[in-house]
């Protein structure tokens, strides 16, 4: 199963390399990884998605928790949560295609953020599934380039991940 693990990490040089190194060293798989500072500049917030059975995920979270720079950790997939990913996608858009692509982007609530005579660049936010569904709808054949941020997530309701 896919899990979204969210971490508050000391914002120090080398901290990220320990997290990433742990995955490589123990043969765990990172599907996506995002990291940025938080409102508290001493902390970074890191979100990663990974897959594995219950036992593997338990080991991953325990091993992560052992890293001295990991301040707090939560497996967001254990409760209700919001997950978002941002994608910038460049697609071939010529002739009749242009209107079709624009319509599809609207349906997915995407925005065309750059236009050239033969190319649209579209910005799209949503769950990873939604981004994939969009690509499928316009047809992988017309995609020139995609760049995705990887998943960010936050728990629903009152629950917060903070000190």
């Amino acid at each position: 199963m896919r899990h979204i693990i969210s971490i508050l990490l000391e914002n120090e040089p080398g901290a990220l390399s320990r997290v990433v190194g742990l995955f490589a060293q123990r043969g765990y798989n990172i599907e996506t990884l995002t990291v940025a500072p938080t409102e508290d500049e001493t902390l970074s917030r890191l979100t990663m998605t990974t897959t594995g059975d219950e036992r593997k995920i338990e080991q991953i979270t325990k091993q992560l928790n052992k890293l001295v720079e990991v301040v707090k950790l939560v497996d967001l997939s254990e409760g209700p949560h919001i997950e978002r990913e941002l994608m910038l996608i460049k697609v071939k858009a010529i002739g009749a295609q242009r209107a079709e692509i624009k319509r599809t982007a609207d349906i997915f609530r995407g925005q065309i953020v750059d236009v050239s005579p033969s190319v649209y660049t579209i910005q799209l936010t949503g769950t990873s599934d939604k981004l994939e569904a969009f690509i499928e709808s316009i047809g992988a054949g017309c995609v020139l380039e995609t760049v995705r941020t990887g998943v960010s997530g936050i728990a629903r309701g009152e629950k917060v991940l903070s000190l």
Binding site: G14, E58, V71
Partner: protein
């Protein structure tokens, strides 16, 4: 306000952290620090002959005292030479602080002379590491490094110090923190009471229980508490290779070491148990054999300070995360409160069964009349000669297993071996680290002619500092453990397990200024041992004892089997 240099800060901070000895080797990036060492006498430096040995010395010290050992090395090759030593400590959860020099900050990343990314290279084998970025941070980093190394599940910590952090003419305010608190590092202080209660209920209801304890009990300094629990419950106790001495080796309830070369009775007891309580051990693959066949009837209680050890290889029915000592205290208190006692009748039957197993495989090796000795009898003779009260370090191989099986350790912290990583070359420097700190105790390194040559250069260090350790070399003229596997699994094809062209060890140690004694016949051994611990008590003695090279270590678990599947001799299988 006194201002001092980064180099002086480092040395003063080490002193404040309680350090008496640092083991190390100088070089370019640490020269300012070495000058700071020179100017004082509180922190003593021991100059090794190879940085790997410095790490093992610090490690031996730590295993015997429970306090972090300290290593100091220069950048580049000095730092990388410690890697095997750091990995050895890491695998066995041994506290250590390694200070490695680094090139000037502005050169870092430029492939400068003697630059290696020590933090990167060591990252997978340290508990934590620090890079010094401002000289004034040095005292706090040192204090944090010791705190992290010594607490929780201990381990090695690296501090990487660029040369410009230690400039003699750049001075800063020195402030050593009185107390360390880290929001991101809070080792557990006690176990979960509800879980401990469940564990006690299970123990009281057990009919075929066994207590399986490991190095964690020794690290936590809780051997007395373990003994109290074992004796209170009248349960059999087995120790891992790392846990020997936690329960007395001559104790009646001790059933020997368990695992790959564990005793017949320990492995049989484990396999047939209905409740297994694992205390400060981690179900290592050298213990469990095939995990799918492990202890088929047992409920498992697992006490460990490291949550990631629990349910990693064997699922625990009752997991307890916490320091061994605190958990054992709470268990004892619950036992005191409880009106119940374990089922005496069931226990009696269980002990009868265990004693039958003991008898069945009591004499584990065949003696013969030939003058060429069996390695086992040499260990037994040494046990007698040292009255079972020496610090015994070992290298890795058959000699290590014979020492573990035949030297009965009655005290904790006396059996010092690289159990987890299996590092040949560990034993001798580890013995040196211990002897320097326990000058009045007997310290013996049990080794093989293969292993000893991996750090034999330290004979020179021993002369310089007067470190009279005893080296007992069980010389079978081959890489015995490798040879044994080749005998058993490769139809006796001894591919590169010979040590052809061995040196004359007696002449070699004499060249280094020590005493060498060669023993080839059984009749010579008693006198040689007497001289080693008598006449030559204050000298380093190298006892080179010829032993039967065809001997194998038994019992030996059969690969992919359960715990009870063992070879008991070359011809006998369970």
């Amino acid at each position: 306000m006194e201002l001092i240099s980064g180099g002086d800060m480092l040395v003063r901070a080490l002193h404040e952290a309680g350090v008496e000895y640092v083991y190390g080797y100088p070089g370019g990036s640490l020269l300012h620090v070495y000058d700071s060492l020179y100017k004082q006498s509180a922190v003593k430096h021991v100059l090794v002959r190879h940085e790997q040995a410095a790490a093992h010395m610090a490690d031996g010290y730590a295993r015997a005292t429970g306090k972090a050992g300290v290593v100091m090395v220069t950048s580049g090759p000095g730092a990388t030479n410690t890697i095997t030593g750091i990995a050895t400590a890491f695998t066995d959860s041994i506290p250590m602080v390694v200070i490695s020099g680094q090139v000037m900050s502005h050169l870092v990343g430029d492939d400068a002379f003697q630059e290696t990314d020590m933090l990167g290279v060591s990252r997978p084998i340290v508990k934590h590491s620090f890079a010094v970025r401002r000289p004034e941070d040095i005292p706090e980093i040192v204090a944090k490094a010791f705190y992290i190394a010594n607490t929780g599940r201990p381990g090695p910590v690296v501090i990487d110090i660029p040369k410009d952090m230690t400039m003699p003419n750049e001075r800063y305010e020195y402030v050593y923190p009185k107390k360390i608190k880290m929001r991101s590092y809070t080792p557990p202080q006690r176990g979960h009471s509800g879980q401990i209660k469940k564990a006690v209920e299970l123990l009281l209801a057990a009919k075929r229980p066994v207590i399986y304890s490991g190095g964690g009990v020794i690290i936590d300094g809780s051997s007395d508490k373990l003994r109290a629990l074992v004796d209170r419950l009248n349960f059999p106790c087995t120790n891992t290779l790392m846990g020997l001495g936690a329960y007395p080796g001559t104790g009646e309830r001790f059933i020997g070491m368990l695992g790959m070369h564990g005793s017949y009775e320990a492995n049989m007891t484990m396999h047939n148990a209905d409740v297994v309580i694992c205390i400060g051990a981690r179900f290592d693959d050298r213990v469990t054999n095939a995990t799918s066949k492990f202890c088929p009837d047992a409920k498992i209680i697992h006490v460990d300070i490291d949550p990631s050890s629990i349910s990693k290889t064997i699922i625990a029915d009752v997991p307890i995360v916490g320091p061994v000592g605190a958990v054992l205290d709470e268990m004892m208190a619950l036992l005191d409160e409880a009106n119940e006692t374990p089922d005496a009748e069931a226990l009696e039957t269980w002990w009868k069964q265990i004693n039958e197993w003991r008898e069945r495989h009591g004499g584990r090796y065949e003696k013969n009349d030939s003058q060429l000795m069996k390695p086992q009898e040499v260990i037994e003779a040494m046990w007698t000669a040292t009255k079972g009260d020496a610090f015994i370090t070992s290298d890795v191989g058959q000699h290590q297993m014979f020492a573990a099986q035949y030297y009965k350790f009655d005290k904790p912290n006396r059996w010092i071996n690289s159990g987890g990583l299996g590092t040949m070359g560990f034993g001798f420097p580890a013995a040196m680290g211990i002897k320097m700190n326990f000058p009045d105790d007997m310290v013996v390194c049990v080794t093989g002619e293969g292993s000893i040559q991996m750090n034999i250069q330290e004979l020179s260090t021993c002369l310089q500092y007067g470190i009279p350790v005893k080296i007992l070399c069980l010389n079978n003229g081959s890489l015995g453990m490798v040879r044994q596997w080749q005998d058993m699994n490769y139809e006796g094809r001894h591919s590169h397990s010979y040590m052809e062209s061995l040196p004359d060890f007696v002449k070699l140690v004499e060249a280094y200024g020590h005493v060498g004694i060669r023993v080839t016949d059984r009749d010579q051994l008693p006198q040689a041992l007497e001289d080693t611990f008598g006449k030559y008590n204050d000298r380093l003695v190298f006892l080179d004892v010829a032993v039967d090279e065809t001997e194998h270590v038994y019992p030996m678990q059969v690969p992919t089997g359960s715990m009870r599947d063992m070879w008991l001799s070359k011809t006998e299988r369970t």
